[in-house]
Amino acid sequence: MNIGSKLSKTNLVYFDNSATSFPKPPAVVDAVVEYMTQAGGNPGRSGHRLAEEAGEIVFLARKALASFFGIKNPMNVVFGPNATDAVNTALKGILNKGDHVITTHLEHNCVMRPLNRLSGDGIIDISVADGDEIGIVSANEIGSLLKPSTKVVVINHVSNVTGVIQPVREIGKMCRSKGVILIVDGAQSGGIVPVNIADDFIDIFAFTGHKALYGPTGTGGMIISDDFDHKILRTLKEGGTGSISDKIEQPDFLPDKLESGTMNVAGIAGLLKGIEFINSLPEGVNSALSHKLTLQKYFIEKASKKVEGFKSYSQTGSPGITSFRMEGFTASDITQQLSDRFNIMSRQGLHCAPSAHQKIGTYPEGTVRFSFSVFSTIAEIDYAIEALKKIRNRNA
């Protein structure tokens, strides 16, 4: 299984990997099945062999994620269903009445909606950094918005709309020097660009397992910096953890504090294999990144030349994500025709990020988004470009 080799045996072209990656590496699928047929206990609860095996899978996944994202303590890897849940847990667990938060226009609704709720409830006030014409913000700009009450900076690392990459390390360094907590929405950056929580001065990194980490849906969570004082995080959920079961108080240590209820062990078993898959690439995440950069550059350049009226809203250098439009066609029309006539899967609309589309001038119509994975190929892009030409020429 190599980068750029097509996994799917069908003629389907899947360019919606920013929504969820497809297909998954075979080892991911095998691990899910193996858990369900061979090692299906509940981790951390019972004391029998199958529970231990499940516990070991979960621990190995914590360890792999800790190493992958540059933290030392595997207990600071907290599993949950997705990045949205992690962002909610972080924001609502940390922020108190009177706190000020800084964010950007390129946020996904997983950040915007919790912030909007907290603001609407009169708990916080928000400043939104404008950024440059494509929404990239600088540490200086964020710094200029700081107030004495600024508690948190929350930022989308890689835009799910355009693929713009924010200078997280620079922003993190500034935040750390000012004692402000940096929460990063890493849904589109984990497994896409190298992330090192220690070097990037990130306090909480929300990740999802089912996109560029190639795991199953329903996996994700947060990676908490080794230096972060988790005592300031209030829990939003309490329940059974298998630990200090003689007490009705929630444990105050990680990860138990934030992991009530039985977790998605089948999914985590697959996620572990997804991370191992990325690590097995010659240069790990950098190999995946370089493949996607190559594909994206090829797509933008060739489509701009060959498809009349093609306009990209992403720049080359975005890690495999391209938002575009074709003059005279709505985004939904293009996506539907790509799917119905050409078996090409793409995503139209606002991508759950209305503010980002306002920033790039594509609101409310939205764009078509192609998002590539390590299994995407140049041949598939050529086929998609031919499809766009046929749609353009209204060639039935």
Partner: protein, 85 residues
């Protein structure tokens, strides 16, 4: 307490130690570290006499207690206590 537990098990293992953790997550971590160092041990259900937790703890040969303690501390693996005989 521990010897009572071991007698009850009928193992007669009077040269054993048990590491109790606040959570099975830490037991799994310790298990991983001890495995890598080839220290003879096994995960067992937490004996009710020792703790009310639901999960597991680690049983090991008492003659490696010092090494086990050192390893756990070096790796910053928090544990509740080690009981040895």
């Amino acid at each position: 307490m521990l010897s009572k537990h071991l007698k009850k098990l009928g193992t007669g293992m009077l040269n054993k130690g048990i590491i109790l953790f606040h959570s099975s997550n830490y037991a799994m971590w310790a298990d991983n570290v001890l495995k890598k160092k080839n220290i003879d041990h096994r995960l067992i259900p937490v004996p009710r006499e020792l703790s009310s937790d639901c999960g597991y703890c680690i049983e090991f040969e008492n003659n490696s207690a010092a090494e086990v303690t050192k390893l756990l501390k070096n790796e910053n693996i928090e544990f509740d206590r080690i009981e040895t005989i």
